[in-house]
């Protein structure tokens, strides 16, 4: 469905995406794993066209979205849903208006039908009855679920999740995981999840991509990754502080720096 071809993106001297090649299969849940600063959010933002890569291409159903005209890109975006890390609900609209927003903007559906659709989507995320509340009145987990309801209101073919479970309590995490999985199984929606939550990742993932400093160090089906012999992969999924992936970022020797500064 989506193919990433030799993607390069640099911020100054740091390569956030260093010649990345991967693809997201139709109807599957692909989880992009990586520590903070590994370039996973940057990859996601390039895949959806929010940021332009320095070079390389992203093919959506065979069309390169990095060089696409804005109008065409907007057409494709209507098939995409995205759940942002902070949910990105419009703070001046209430829950109902937030979810109905894409419908009001893009369709001529009658208000009574929109109301039915919104009620259905809210029921899916278990938040029916909150229509009149403002986003600021909801907890973090609830805003994520409202964000998800908004992301699926146009019935997208593919949904992107940017750290859907970060900062949530275990139960909310479980709820979100279940929702991601249900949406994928029930509606056959292709899902791309950016995450650093290993547990939740193995609960939902069909395929896993592990990023490390802008490079893909492992890619494959969830089982393969789980049983991987690669030391870096093992260190990452077991969360070990010692291993081939260094914790510090500088090349300078620590002793040198404190003794001979």
């Amino acid at each position: 469905m989506i193919k990433v071809d030799n993607l390069v993106k640099k911020y100054g001297d740091v390569a956030a995406s260093n010649h990345l090649n991967c693809h997201f299969e139709k109807g599957k849940i692909t989880v992009i794993l990586g520590g903070s600063g590994s370039g996973k959010s940057t990859l996601l933002r390039q895949v959806v066209g929010l940021e332009k890569p320095d070079s390389g291409a992203v093919y959506f159903d065979g069309m390169d979205i990095t060089i696409m005209h804005r109008k065409k890109l907007y057409e494709i975006r209507k098939k995409m849903g995205m759940l942002f890390q902070g949910s990105a609900l419009f703070n001046y609209l209430n829950i109902y208006e937030n979810i109905a927003f894409p419908l009001h903007e893009h369709t001529k559906i009658a208000d009574s039908v929109i109301k039915t659709i919104v009620t259905m989507k809210l029921e899916m995320v278990g938040l029916r009855g909150t229509e009149h509340l403002m986003p600021s009145q909801l907890s973090g987990g609830m805003t994520k679920r409202v964000g998800l309801a908004r992301a699926i209101v146009m019935d997208p073919e593919i949904i992107f999740y940017d750290e859907p479970t970060s900062g949530l309590d275990p139960i909310s995490t479980g709820v979100i995981d279940k929702l991601i999985k249900d949406l994928n199984r029930a509606l056959n929606i292709t899902s791309v999840v950016v995450s650093h939550d290993i547990e939740s990742c193995f609960r939902i993932a069909d395929n896993i991509i592990i990023l490390f400093f802008g490079e893909i160090i492992a890619m494959g089906a969830a089982e393969e990754i789980k049983n991987s012999k690669d030391l870096r992969v093992k260190q990452f999924i077991n969360g070990e502080p010692e291993g081939p992936i260094p914790f510090t970022r500088t090349d300078k020797n620590y002793l040198d720096e404190i003794l001979f500064y």
């Binding site: 804005r70 975006r77 209507k78 849903g81 902070g86 990105a88 419009f90 903007e105 893009h106």
Partner: protein, 255 residues
């Protein structure tokens, strides 16, 4: 060498910002007239920029007019020319103080709020979210504000003029005893259409300037808390100074 390079770099930077902001203004302006038209968004912005500024403009105008009334009275009395107090008050307000003070007040109230609002939308990913919903953030968020600024400022300025003149009347005629007929009559004969036209033209330009600068600074603010707070301050400083500079330029062109 290094000094030259850094001067060059910062100059290029400034020109780049100028160019980008100009493109930003043109895109936002013309997008406003392309379908789908968002009339309700526009009405909301007029309410925010225009009608919610009424009270602050009213108070500013009233006291400006009253002070002009007193000051004018005491200066004019030295030449025995109290009778032209109305002309003096009206001319200074219609030509200068109305558009400028009104614009400065709106900058402080609405301009800073526009920057903060757009900056916060940026921090909380609401602008990318619009983009992901296939809605152009510039068209949706910025265009209505710019058009609302163009409509609101002249109206507010006209209101300012009216209240200011009434303030001068209150002090001059009711308090200090200038002849009522002289205040109104001389004013009506002395003020030409060009005076009013010039003032309204100025307020028109200030309307564009305020929404343009505050929206651009908010749009390009660094997406952090410090970024947005400094952007808000920047808006007030940059817009206020630009208003004064532009006022001089327009005045010299109009005369």
């Amino acid at each position: 060498m290094q000094i030259a390079a850094s001067i060059g770099r910062s100059t290029l930077n400034r020109f780049q910002i100028l160019g980008r902001s100009t493109i930003f203004l043109f895109v936002a302006f013309f997008q406003a007239f392309l379908p789908p038209l968002r009339f309700s968004r526009f009405v909301k912005e007029v309410e925010f920029i225009g009608s919610k500024s009424f009270l602050i403009v009213f108070i500013t105008a009233l006291f400006t007019g009253m002070v002009l009334g007193i000051q004018g009275y005491y200066s004019l009395r030295q030449f025995g020319a109290e009778a032209v107090l109305g002309v003096m008050v009206a001319l200074s307000i219609i030509r200068e103080l109305g558009p400028v003070l009104c614009a400065l007040m709106v900058t402080g109230r609405a301009g800073s709020a526009i920057t903060a609002q757009i900056g916060i939308m940026k921090i909380t990913d609401q602008l990318p979210a619009l983009e992901m919903m296939a809605i152009d953030p510039i068209k949706y968020v910025i265009s209505p504000k710019i058009i609302a600024g163009i409509i609101s400022l002249p109206l507010l300025t006209a209101f300012f003029d009216l209240v200011g003149i009434a303030g001068g009347y209150l002090v001059g005629v009711k308090l200090l005893g200038v002849n009522e007929g002289a205040y109104i009559g001389k004013m009506v004969t002395a003020i030409t259409f060009e005076d009013i036209y010039g003032g309204i033209l100025k307020s028109f330009c200030f309307g564009i300037l305020i929404t343009w600068i505050s929206a651009f600074i908010g749009f390009t603010a660094e997406p952090t808390t410090e970024g947005v707070s400094s952007a808000t301050t920047n808006t007030v400083v940059v817009t206020s100074l630009s208003i004064l500079v532009l006022d001089y330029i327009l005045t010299s062109l109009l005369l």
